[in-house]
């Protein structure tokens, strides 16, 4: 059995709000499947699964805020799941007619009241979830026992079968003494008001699989300010911790654009290539030659990444930007890259990004040429170690071999982390980029 945890979707993320389960308990899942959607400062992100198996227990309901690292659900192998299910069935102590198990729909006021009660009561939790054996959970459900009222006597305060049965006999009416729900210690982006309504702090009750969102789903309070806070946190960290060095070079794009124009003439409009596709491929190819710029600086160590996942800076209309990863940029053909970028831009703007796209980028490329910017010196996205900036392609006087002519020129810049690399490596990269852009037909 493995634990499916709330992933960190950026250095600046403390928690995410579960929006939806895409699967329910008992459903088979496989690596790469999108199994949940989580609201973060970067919008709603689709969370992928990294295991094959059966989605077993679900610990959070849609609408709940889940700290990074907390277990959202468990994933078991098929054998484990079957074994558990049959064990539970065999151990069921009371035969209850089917009809009695079905709970009548509760009035909305009661739902809110119960949620508030749960918010102020301290359940037997470790971290943020109730520790309870699957068998005890099943019995509690059958007997209608509120888990927040049960004192666990098992290992680590876990609720056991005997605790549930005891609680059912005692039929407690009152919740235990209210205990303060511990606040997370880490700093939060300001989208969470200090006086959050108690329903938003509902202690995460384990639930059986439900793909139905509960009515009080937490709405993104102020998307723009949350996004600003997220960018502010990451960029402040970068400027505080990363000793940046910068360099630039002018690249003659005349040949590359002529090749592109000729290529596009042969293509129907849907298959045309934009200059940025060629540029991204050239950056990826150059990174294979200077891999030191592609990777991370973590715990004082330079970690070069084997995969080249370029994070492409995409601005959002409502403000802010996201740099989702284009996986294995260097392995893609120009056509594959065009489709991948188109898909990524569309999904970024319609809030359909996947978790791996937010976490996997190994270097960021920002292209502000469309906005008329001639050169851009970027701020590295930690823990990455470099950022490539591409400017607008403009006609400029160009002296070469003693002759002056007018060429289409682009300024490429590099921001490097001086802890990981030196200017020499940066220079090698820009040189490789220039060379690769003179031979775009080989990309």
């Amino acid at each position: 059995m493995t634990e499916f945890k709330m992933p960190s979707l950026g250095a600046d993320m403390d928690a995410g709000t579960l929006v939806e389960w895409k699967v329910k308990s008992g459903d088979p899942v496989k690596r790469g499947d999108i199994i949940a959607a989580v609201e973060t400062a970067k919008g709603v992100i689709e969370i992928e699964c990294f295991e094959n198996g059966i989605l077993d227990e679900i610990f959070y309901q849609p609408g709940q805020e889940v700290p990074v690292g907390n277990v959202l659900a468990t994933i078991s192998s098929e054998a484990e799941f079957r074994q558990k299910a049959s064990a539970q069935k065999a151990a069921e102590p009371v035969k209850v007619p089917e009809a009695v198990v079905v709970e009548p729909a509760k009035p909305a006021a009661q739902v809110v009241q119960e949620a508030m009660k749960a918010a102020i009561a301290q359940p037997a939790v470790s971290g943020d979830r109730i520790r309870i054996s699957p068998l005890a959970r099943r019995i509690a459900e059958d007997l209608g026992v509120d888990l927040t009222t049960v004192h666990g006597t098992g290992p680590g305060g876990a609720i056991q079968k005997s605790d549930i049965e005891g609680a059912a006999q005692a039929k407690p009416v009152l919740a235990p003494e209210p205990v303060r729900v511990p606040e997370p210690v880490s700093a939060r982006p300001p989208e969470v008001p200090p006086q959050a309504p108690p329903v938003e702090k509902v202690a995460p009750l384990p639930v059986e699989a439900s793909t139905e969102p509960v009515p009080e789903v937490k709405k993104p309070t102020d998307f723009q300010s949350a996004m600003r806070a997220a960018i502010a946190a990451a960029m402040s960290k970068s400027n505080r911790e990363i000793p940046h060095y910068y360099m630039e070079t002018n690249i003659d794009m005349t040949k590359a654009l002529a090749w592109l124009e000729e290529e596009n003439l042969k293509r129907p409009i849907r298959e045309r290539l934009l200059p940025v596709v060629v540029l991204l491929k050239a950056v990826a190819k150059s990174l294979t030659e200077v891999p030191e710029l592609n990777g991370f600086w973590i715990d004082g160590q330079h970690q070069v990444s084997e995969a080249i996942n370029i994070g492409f800076a995409i601005n959002l209309r409502q403000g802010g930007l996201i740099t989702p990863a284009i996986h294995d940029t260097d392995m893609k053909t120009l056509d594959e890259l065009r489709d991948a970028m188109n898909d990524l831009i569309t999904r970024t703007r319609s809030n359909k990004l996947r978790s791996s796209e937010l976490t996997d980028s190994t270097i960021v490329v920002t292209s502000l040429g469309d906005r008329g910017v001639e050169k851009v010196f970027g701020v590295i996205y930690p823990p990455q170690v470099a950022l490539v900036g591409l400017g607008k392609i403009t006609e400029q006087p160009w002296a070469e071999n003693g002759t002056l002519s007018v060429r289409k020129v682009m300024t490429a810049t590099l921001a490097g982390d001086h802890r990981a690399t030196d200017g020499h490596k940066g220079g090698l990269f820009l040189e490789a980029l220039n060379r690769n852009l003179q031979e775009v037909e080989k990309l």
Binding site: N264, I269, L274, R317, Q318, N342, I345, R349, S350, R371
Partner: protein, 81 residues
């Protein structure tokens, strides 16, 4: 197709590309890329949508010259759509 019908189509396609914007508020000579804050990917997708909806081919060279509502209208009328 008359000018008003063409304009409606252009506005409808722009609204799909530039979500949350109001293309109808643009003047005939406003630059669409700046006015709607669309990038080269958006622009290409807009021209793809336009060419497929009106069954015309818009060459890459022409695309580069079409920056305002007025220019696009004029171009489409010349294509006799």
């Amino acid at each position: 197709m008359n000018e008003s019908e063409l304009k409606d189509i252009i506005i409808a396609e722009l609204a799909k590309i530039a979500l949350g914007s109001d293309p109808a508020a643009l003047d005939l000579d406003d630059n669409l890329r700046e006015g709607l804050d669309i990038d080269s990917f958006d622009a290409l997708n807009f021209f793809i949508a336009l060419s497929e909806r009106l069954h015309i081919d818009i060459s890459e060279k022409d695309m580069g010259k079409l920056n305002t509502m007025g220019e696009i209208l004029h171009y489409l009328q010349a294509q006799k759509v």
